[in-house]
Symmetry: C2
Subunit: 284 residues, 2 copies
């Protein structure tokens, strides 16, 4: 599909992507760029890495597709740095969890004849790092792509096909719509899990030992990297604040029904929640 | 360990318990009481059921141990009904998720020479019903027992041994302390998952299709039976309202940090949450 794919910053997502690309033969050559020497050493041992370098110029010069897999706050800076070295016709995408700022910024810095199309594969884990890479990390998951109105159609089509080749369900939406959606289905759940954990940490520390699978599942995502999530939250600030406020109203409404022993209202809340959750389950 | 164990109301917990008791030979004879004819028919086919009946008198008359496995709001009424038929020395316990009301009420109705000791095995699933019963449902989980100060010590010891024989970690606490603990580690997480789902159900219904494992795990418990959870919430009203209020303060504090772009405070919240979650993981 491509002669060369270059992956910048091989953490869990980048390394999983390289593995999947090799497994499905989507590129003749996988080139990896990593900032840290120890990461480059680790990469050089991997069958999914044909060449590894610390030079961005060398990494992207011959690339047909560059996938930026770094934390969200460094995606735009990296695209700025690679832009002068991209060959004509090169495609650039990313895997960042926010899209409005990244897509707008990157679109403006990409030189004529090269194209940026933002992506967000909804795949990951609370475990980070290359060591947890899996070639099936993306299979069956959603991937958002967020072209702008003036993004080249062939570029959009190529990025769409790329994710589909990895067995992803691709949804094309505007960057702003993307950020609204993930604020609700990903960032808000993360915030709630994290706040639940930070709240419980103020209580008797032995209580955690009694917890069943319910608490464990409900809070799993709170084990994700704090710095990574801080950046995601900051890049999607307005949508997340709006989603939290609306959630607070819903919580306040159930709390008041509980405090006032309004059985019918309590039941109604729980039934609406269950109905939504049951549809979620059957959709997989 | 016992000649006869009688299990009232064989749903997920009751049937799993009967299976585990048979597997570990904790009783010579398992007697099951079920209200509904179709449940009795289903039980009569099971190897873990030596006798099934719709008569409470017949079910408990010869029982050394009676385990009430019905929803929380019917535990006390059932104990009232079986009390006149219990033989001398009989032990009664339950598996209800709340303990203050149940333990106090049941303690007062049990006749002299018989003993009630409240239990709450922290095992279960969002799936309910006999069909999902598993003999290992209790293994490695916590079981609270909640004796009162004047509960017979031998009875407490026997109930404690019973749960330990099922490979449970037993924690002995007062009913009030139990309700405070589970309000935080079980009921609050359930309320949050449920409110998150009922909130998301007010949004574009297609969004659920995009959701990753994060939302699925965070909300799994919201798939639990609405009527069952309504009763649990009502029986632990005060503790749950208090826990929600404190959670609201913590959420408000993070929301304000996000709205005001206070990076350090956001990071701090997330770090405290992650530290708690990481301890939770390592404890299993």
């Amino acid at each position: 599909m491509f002669k060369q794919i270059t992956i910048l910053a091989p953490g869990l997502l980048g390394a999983s992507l390289a593995t999947a690309v090799k497994d499905r033969q989507l590129a003749d050559r996988n080139v990896i760029w990593a900032r840290r020497a120890e990461t480059r050493v680790a990469c050089s041992d991997q069958s999914w890495c044909d060449h590894v370098t610390d030079s961005l110029e060398e990494a992207v010069g011959e690339a047909d597709l560059v996938v930026v897999c770094s934390p969200v706050e460094t995606i735009h800076p990296l695209v700025v740095r690679i832009s002068p070295h991209l060959k004509k016709g090169a495609l650039v995408t990313d895997v960042g969890s926010t899209k409005s700022l990244i897509t707008r910024y990157c679109h403006t810095v990409i030189p004529l004849g090269r194209q940026f199309v933002g992506s967000h594969p909804m795949a990951g884990s609370e475990k980070s790092g290359m060591a947890h890479a899996r070639k099936d990390l993306f299979c069956g998951k959603t991937c958002f792509i967020t072209p702008l109105v003036d993004t080249d159609e062939k570029a959009v089509e190529a990025i769409l096909r790329f994710w589909k080749e990895l067995d992803m369900e691709v949804a094309t939406v505007s960057p702003e719509r993307h950020d609204e959606i993930v604020a609700h289905i990903s960032h808000l759940p993360h915030v709630l899990a994290s706040v639940l954990c930070s709240f419980l940490s103020t209580k008797d520390s032995s209580w955690g030992n009694f917890a069943g699978d319910g608490l464990r599942d409900t809070t799993r995502v709170a084990g994700g990297g704090a710095a990574i999530w801080k950046s995601i939250i900051e890049q999607n600030r307005e949508e997340i604040v709006r989603a939290i406020s609306q959630f607070e109203n819903e919580l306040q409404s159930l709390k008041s029904a509980i405090a006032n022993s309004q059985s019918f209202d309590i039941l109604n809340h729980l039934k609406r929640g269950k109905a939504y959750r049951d549809r979620l389950r059957s959709s997989q």
